[in-house]
């Protein structure tokens, strides 16, 4: 094959361009710390990286939601536990009041104390922190009201429960939060297995309806009865009331356990997401980040090749027979 200056020159220029191109690409990778900055540079890895990023992004949101949920559930739990403590006090006072050594005046004083305790429970139920009632339903209104001695939760008389709609009204709508377990909404309602419940209804904490012997199940309503009886110096029903307070405490503990389970679930999910984030971040690094050590080695070898080709050029290009003719 006949070798000419023109093709020597062209091949040399092509080579030097390629070498400089490699060096410049490697420099880009080192300065940006990324293996690619366009999808076309590495289609499969880029497509996977985009997905991993989305997943990471979502998880961050879910973790935020879980944090909110955690704060809310903690407030609810402490509320329920406080009510439980108050009920222990109530029980003691009721036993004290049943004692026949008490005069009518003494009982009035106990009734007064019970009133204070009752108001304490009402306050706990009606607690509002940053625009939200701790025990409200979806409508976020003050849950409990006492009008003319009758107890209303979410506008429903707690002693006059006649049909499921009444219970529905009493409990109020529930609020759910997306925590990344496959949120599903159909026909305007959230599938409760696909999201976490944020609200705990005042109605289920305090109870509602009446027992078979016509006694109120609701704690406030029950306490109202106790207070009225004591004010009238009537202790005939105290034993029965005591049993009902014990029942209420059992129900309350069920609620506390329920909130506790939800708190645990929230903590577990958050934990799982954080672990997942660690592995996702690692995946993202593997996909997108440059392996500095090997890249530097490549970079050095590209640089060397480039310098060698420069040196070579100064020798190859001008020389010909003319350098040797006399």
């Amino acid at each position: 094959m006949r070798v000419t200056q023109r093709s020597l020159q062209r091949n040399y220029m092509n080579g030097i361009n390629r070498n400089l191109g490699n060096l410049s690409k490697s420099n880009d990778r080192l300065t940006t710390g990324r293996r690619f900055s366009r999808v076309s540079e590495n289609v499969t890895d880029a497509a996977r990286a985009l997905r991993v990023r989305d997943k990471l992004n979502r998880n961050e949101q879910y973790i935020g939601n879980l944090d909110n949920l955690d704060v809310e559930l903690a407030a609810q739990e402490s509320g329920v536990m406080q009510i439980n403590d108050i009920l222990t006090n109530v029980k003691e006072l009721m036993i004290k009041a049943s004692n026949d050594t008490n005069s009518a005046e003494d009982r009035k004083i106990i009734a007064r104390e019970l009133e204070n305790l009752r108001d304490g429970i009402v306050q706990i139920i009606n607690t509002k922190s940053t625009d939200k009632y701790t025990f409200s339903g979806a409508d976020n209104k003050k849950p409990l009201e006492i009008i003319d001695g009758k107890v209303y939760i979410n506008g429903q008389d707690v002693d006059a429960i006649e049909n499921p709609e009444d219970i529905q009204k009493l409990l109020g709508g529930q609020v759910f939060v997306d925590i990344g377990v496959g949120l599903e909404v159909s026909g305007g309602s959230v599938d409760r297995t696909s999201a976490a419940q944020l609200t705990t209804a005042a109605g289920s904490v305090l109870g509602y309806g009446t027992t078979e012997d016509g006694m109120p199940k609701n704690i406030i309503s029950l306490l109202n009865n106790v207070i009225t009886d004591l004010n009238n110096d009537d202790t005939s029903n105290m034993g029965r009331y005591g049993e009902l307070v014990d029942d209420a405490k059992v129900d309350l503990l069920v609620q506390a356990t329920d909130i506790g389970t939800r708190t645990k679930y929230v903590a577990d999910t958050k934990n799982r997401m954080e672990m997942e984030n660690i592995s996702l971040t690692e995946q993202m690094n593997n996909l997108e980040a440059v392996d500095i050590e090997s890249e530097i080695i490549y970079n050095k070898s590209y640089e060397m090749t480039w310098q060698i080709s420069l040196q070579l050029g100064s020798q190859i290009l001008p020389s010909s027979i003319f350098d040797f003719m006399r």
């Binding site: 990324r34 366009r38 076309s40 985009l50 939601n65 709508g173 939060v177 010909s320």
Partner: protein
Amino acid sequence: MRSTFLGFETARKGMAASQKGIDITGQNITNMNTSGYTRQRVDFVSVSAPTNARYRSVGTSNAGQGVNMGGVSQIRNPYLDARFRSEFADTGYHDKALSILDGIESVLNEVEGGLKPVFNDLLAALQDFSSKPDQVTNANIVLSSVKSVTQMIRSLSKQLDTLGEQYVFDLTVDVKNVNALMEKITDLNKSISESVANQTNPSDTTNINELLDQRNLLLDELGQYGNIRVIDQGDGTVSVEMNEHKIIDGTWHEQINLSVNADNTVDLHWQSSGQKVILESGTLKASYDLISNGKGELKGLPYYKEQLNIFAKSFADLMNQAFPTKDADGNSTGYKQIITGDLTIDASNITVSSEWLDDPSFILKDLDNAGSLDNTHILDLISKLEGKGNIPGFEGSFADFIDSYVTTLGQDKSYVSGRFDASYAIITDLENKRDAISAVSLDEEGANLMVFDKAYKATSRLMTTFDEALDVLINKTGLVGR
């Protein structure tokens, strides 16, 4: 019988030939870096003694009359020219396609920035809003993130349009170039054929070699615009076909007309027949495919605009069916329009409705009652924005949709880039092969220079020899006894 002074003529011819040889060597060396230059060579022919059957001179009296110059010819391989031009069209196609796809990718770059981040911001804002669905602050955050999404869509659409305009402009320049090239080639056809016809010495082609070089260079250049075939007509002209359509015939040439449509797509027509220009490869095809044709082998600008429009439309439809309006009795009466556009919402006109822009709490009002924590409609919206099957004709989610067109683009570009590298390697190889035949080698010319120099000196010596011999004959012969 040999004439007395025959030898002088032989020596003169030899000296002239050597000088011409040095001239042409000089021409080669000086044009070493002239693009398109083909090395030239003096064709030497030894002078044959005239032979005639009737008056045939006997013996060797007329032999040895020296050298004639048969002409100065180019050294070229037409087969390599044809291969080069067909491959050059391929290189041109992939080069142009690569540069356009690169432009599109720099707009639709989801690796750094793009539509995904603003879309994810919106999802985050909605998640926060779902925990506090009664807060104006959160409604405002949702408003600004929806605004970001619509602005981003509009900006991408605008950038694609600008890109389209730029490529249309580039194409008009290309078409002008092609038309100018065709005209120049016919001009050269004319000059070359006239020179061939007017040549007093038909073997002397020196004065057209440079014209041939120019024409070959122009033909090479024309070859990158479309797949051409060059046919030598034998009278000094060439005719050229572009994808089976005759574009140059002698001194006649075709013209390409470009028309730009309202939607910034283009059409190319032959002026002679008015038919559409259909090509197999070349930069014209690449430009046309990627500017005007959305459904070809490579997805072009119309495809990506269409994808953005589908995204914008589906997004708007979903957002406009998210926040219900209710009458006084709490019955649902429809949905609030929070996204608007022109008659049909698309990527170029999607925007947040003025009702919402004026009042961030627009999406809070008319719900059951103020302060409600009911977030079902927000969760519904989130599940639709994250879920699959909410874009007509597409199976996946919104994020998948973005991924899908971005990876389509990435794959196309990566494919074209590979093809370009391959065809560029072939072009380089062919150029080297062509140069191996046609380009100037300094070593060779240096050697030739010495050869012709020596030959010139030798023929000068020849003349001296004859001169001395005749000197003996003329001045020293017949002087017996003097």
